[in-house]
């Protein structure tokens, strides 16, 4: 089912629309006049059919639940072309990020890897752990073997603050 199908069936939700608008700073989707400059240069248009101008108009129409439960908001590559080129400061990129945050808040289905990375940060402070890498001639190397200094990780104080923010 495409977004357009959803739109014909859906009811506007002003409460959630307000939530999205409150999350946006210096971003004005309501100023969008559908010039489609965002969509014409969108990295994810061809492969994943992301149409940023459509996201913006759906938000303006209040079809937030439909967007939040759709996979389409997870197809953005964050290349930031739409934000750069928008003549109205509507930045679909920022709207998409706000919709993703709301999807998490509403416990909608989100790509697993995002939650994994948050768990990793809570555990070690970093999004990734140092790995053993292999050269083209199949030799293994870690940081020490390459003469790189040990990573000095953050202590637990920061984790408590981070956790508190996530918990709302």
């Amino acid at each position: 089912m495409t977004l357009t199908d959803l739109m014909t069936m859906a009811k506007s939700n002003e409460e959630l629309q307000k939530k999205i608008r409150n999350q946006l700073w210096n971003t004005h989707p309501d100023e969008c006049y559908q010039c489609m400059r965002c969509t014409s240069g969108c990295t994810s248009l061809k492969l994943l059919e992301l149409k940023p101008h459509e996201i913006t108009i759906l938000v303006n129409a209040g079809f937030i639940e439909e967007l939040v439960s759709s996979d389409i908001i997870w197809t953005c590559t964050s290349c930031l072309k739409c934000r750069e080129r928008c003549p109205q400061k509507a930045s679909p990129y920022n709207t998409i990020m706000a919709l993703r945050n709301l999807a998490v808040e509403q416990e909608a289905k989100i790509p697993e890897k995002y939650m994994k990375v948050v768990a990793q940060i809570l555990e070690t402070g970093m999004a990734e752990q140092a790995q053993i890498v292999t050269s083209k001639d199949m030799q293994s190397f870690n940081r020490e073997k390459l003469g790189l200094p040990e990573i000095q990780q953050a202590d637990d104080k920061f984790k408590a603050i981070f956790m508190k923010i996530l918990g709302g």
């Binding site: 197809t75 990375v117 940060i121 990734e128 752990q129 003469g147 996530l166």
Partner: protein, 293 residues
């Protein structure tokens, strides 16, 4: 620039110190030779990049935390060699500096750890640090082994050139600094239509096949231009084009054989630094013996 030493703090992020050792090694090798002394930040954490999709405030806190750690050092600014981290920190700084409510909210969170946000931090990326501070002329005059006869295609990446409203390292639509830095090494650069195409790395979280296809299409197009190699400056882009090149080739059909380098690796070679110290043996896409640098 040659006579005076510049001391600068460096935040490596997660991707570089976890897997992209060649970038870290080559940055550590080349910058001191150009008069830039690096001070490693201690007790760092993620910049908040992947967290932005989950919780915007949490991601801003993470970015601000790095900036607060940096203001505790004696460095004259902060070098952030990862494009995503560079964007996250600059974006958060722009918000904090222009939004009183966020300034107070973040300040309160940081104070729980005894940290303080300072508004006068200057954030650098490898590209603008070399181009604007060290200067292209200095790079040029320090070269010992010019890369003459080579033609490279440069990949400026997305997040260090956009959005211009927050202040980025180069022009958002016609970036030329990386080209100028490659030319300073004696090589030529290729003008190509796909120069601004995105590597797709962010989609590895949700749509892996599409991500690989984006990386693959750019390399496939590039092969037709007959460049000797591909130059980038971001650990995410580099992973897509280098380590994932074979997988990317499978999604676009045909064979890909593009030698991918970090700019700092090429710079190191031109400065006469041993290839192993620049992590050239860790690149997965190219065979230095075949390349004959």
């Amino acid at each position: 620039m040659e006579d005076e030493e510049l001391k600068i703090a460096v935040y490596w992020g997660c991707k570089i110190p976890a897997t992209q050792y060649a970038y870290e090694m080559s940055v550590r090798q080349v910058l001191p030779r150009l008069g830039v002394e690096l001070i490693d930040l201690k007790g760092t954490s993620c910049c908040g990049g992947p967290v932005r999709s989950i919780n915007n405030l949490a991601s801003m806190y993470l970015s601000a935390r790095i900036m607060a750690l940096s203001s505790k050092t004696t460095g004259e600014g902060l070098l952030v060699p990862c494009n995503e981290c560079h964007f996250m920190l600059t974006e958060t700084k722009h918000r904090i500096d222009n939004d009183e409510e966020t300034y107070e909210q973040i300040g309160k969170l940081l104070s729980e750890e005894g940290l303080e946000y300072s508004t006068d931090l200057k954030i650098w990326h490898v590209v603008d640090l070399l181009h604007d501070v060290v200067k292209v002329e200095t790079v040029k005059s320090t070269v010992m082994k010019p890369l003459e006869g080579f033609r490279f295609a440069v990949h400026p990446g997305c997040q260090i050139i956009r959005p211009s409203e927050i202040g980025r390292v180069d022009n958002p639509e016609n970036p030329k600094k990386l080209d100028a830095l490659v030319k300073a090494l004696g090589a030529e650069t290729v003008d190509y239509t796909e120069k601004l195409d995105c590597c797709g790395a962010a989609l590895m979280y949700s749509h892996e096949e599409a991500a690989l296809s984006l990386a693959g299409s750019k390399l496939k197009a590039l092969q037709a231009y007959g460049a000797d190699g591909f130059v980038d400056t971001c650990p995410y882009c580099h992973t897509m084009y280098d380590a994932k090149q074979e997988a990317a080739a499978a999604t676009v059909g045909g064979k890909l054989s593009v030698s991918v380098f970090y700019y700092t690796q090429l710079l190191g070679i031109a400065l006469g630094i041993e290839q192993k110290k620049l992590g050239l043996h860790l690149n997965q896409s190219n065979d230095p013996r075949k390349f004959n640098l």
